[in-house]
């Protein structure tokens, strides 16, 4: 057994960068309609590029492990976790962040629905919820409340505003007739405690 290492992320690791022949890569991204060309080290996540280098701090870092969804952005029209992808892997991509959802200061229908339905408390998860819901709308797969809930399950809300978030998203994603629970042909998974044994 090797000795316990209390600090595996030793700061000296960063200095090793200079030992690599080529540490920076040119990356061009179109973000919210604007072109950005930057030089980044390969280990910079798309999330860190957005927040730390481009000052687009609307996108939030929650867990940094793809478990909470706070960092959700759209890449080439699909929602992704920006913490789990490298900026260099997204060269030439079209990115939409929460800053890009409104149009000339006019809130999108989804953003207005979040206000109308009081779909947040602290607001930290909201940019990710909004981008995730925008992805859900674009996918066009959700046809019931149960499906909206399932297809929003990659976004956690520590304040527990789920009922309001669900109604906000449903108000935009579903026609009024399908907004009642249980209207789906798809059956939501049954919780363990309810399994008939």
């Amino acid at each position: 057994m090797q000795p316990y290492d209390p600090n595996p992320h030793d700061a000296s690791a960063n200095t090793a960068a200079s030992e690599h022949g080529r540490t920076r890569h040119g990356v061009t991204l179109r973000i919210n309609g604007q072109t950005h060309s930057v030089e980044v080290e390969p280990w910079v996540s798309l999330l860190d590029l957005l927040r730390d280098r481009l000052d687009l701090t609307g996108t939030k870092k929650g867990c940094d492990h793809g478990q909470c969804g706070a960092c959700t952005v759209m890449c080439d029209g699909e929602r992704i976790n920006s913490c789990l992808t490298l900026a260099v892997m997204r060269d030439s991509c079209e990115i939409t962040t929460v800053e890009g959802l409104s149009n000339d200061g006019q809130l999108s229908e989804l953003q207005q629905a979040f206000i109308d339905h009081d779909a947040f408390q602290c607001g930290y998860c909201t940019p990710g919820q909004l981008c995730s819901a925008a992805g859900l709308l674009k996918e066009g797969r959700a046809s019931s409340v149960d499906e909206v809930r399932e297809l929003m399950s990659g976004n956690l809300c520590r304040c527990g505003a789920y009922p309001q978030i669900t109604s906000a998203v449903c108000s935009v994603a579903l026609p009024a007739s399908t907004r009642a629970a249980g209207s789906s042909t798809w059956n939501a998974p049954v919780l363990v405690g309810k399994v008939p044994a």
């Binding site: 057994m1 090797q2 290492d5 209390p6 595996p8 992320h9 690791a13 960063n14 090793a16 960068a17 690599h20 022949g21 080529r22 540490t23 890569h25 390969p42 280990w43 996540s45 492990h65 793809g66 969804g69 959700t72 699909e78 929602r79 992704i80 976790n81 789990l84 992808t85 490298l86 260099v88 892997m89 995730s132 992805g135 996918e139 066009g140 797969r141 959700a142 046809s143 019931s144 499906e147 809930r149 399932e150 297809l151 929003m152 399950s153 990659g154 976004n155 026609p175 007739s177 399908t178 789906s184 042909t185 798809w186 059956n187 939501a188 998974p189 919780l191 363990v192 399994v195 044994a197």
Partner: protein, 342 residues
Amino acid sequence: MRPFNYTVAAGSEAAIRALGSTPGGRFVAGGTNLLDLMKEDVAQPPHLVDINRLPLEGIVLDGDGLLLGALARNAHTAWNPLVVERYPLLAHAILAGASPQIRNMASNGGNLLQRTRCVYFYDVGVPCNKRRPGSGCPAASGLARQHAILGASPQCIATHPSDMCVALAALDAEVRVQGPAGARSIPFAEFHCLPGDEPERDTVLDEAELITGIALPANRLQAHSVYLKIRERASYAFALVSVAAALELDGNGRIVDARIALGGVAHKPWRDRTAEAILLGEQPGDALFTEVGQHMLRDAKAWGAATSSSGFKITLARRAIVRALTAALDGTPAVLGQGVSA
């Protein structure tokens, strides 16, 4: 994350060459598991070869079967019309896993290569035979609620975390790979390893071998396919136990083809053809399904501390098998996102 070199591969052969010349390097596709492991310092590749530009994204007919490109994303695969129509079991399993965002990113090849979510494997401050061979397995006598009951060894009781792979095992998939020594096709049952004395090895892939696709043979299981996933919350959690169950019935209602694979219970998707043989030629029913459940778990063993053992999964898996087979008999349920919006 530790610094590393990064190159983009223009073709499969260039990718394989690039990896062959950098010991410890890795291919990166979706990156959803690899980058997480790198952030946790569990993986420390000095070089990443980005394979996302390779033309391996297609989902195409392959004889009377289907070939899933290694770089097709999990979400695209699950909602591909050919997959939904011919392999609803696979669509259900993929959509039971991860989150919509991760399914948009994760590749099919990467899904097969994702590593266990054992908490000891992920914690670089503690021993783990899979991460550091020979250092020990704290899970075997520790917190083992997420761990194995079948095929484990005292060296490692980790489980394979994939849902997709459980369906692929049931569907007799083959993994197409290309490497420095040429191309080969690996039957799914032989692709993942049991831990034995070499738990650091997850699969039979050789160094610098690249998964190019996953081939699915034709079957007649479409009408009776169910993926049952038991987990600690309703969505976005790994399976405690999952069951991929599929049946084909003849005109008299007798079972002529049966597939059962278990997830969350072993180091690989657990398939047992002797259990499936019990079903063949029989009329389906509770007593038969119960016998199959008993048979599949006959060698099951609890691991971990008495207060946090994997033992509860033995009963859970037996019952989940009965429930999955019962549900499969009733008919394949609707696939998530396939309903017609009013």
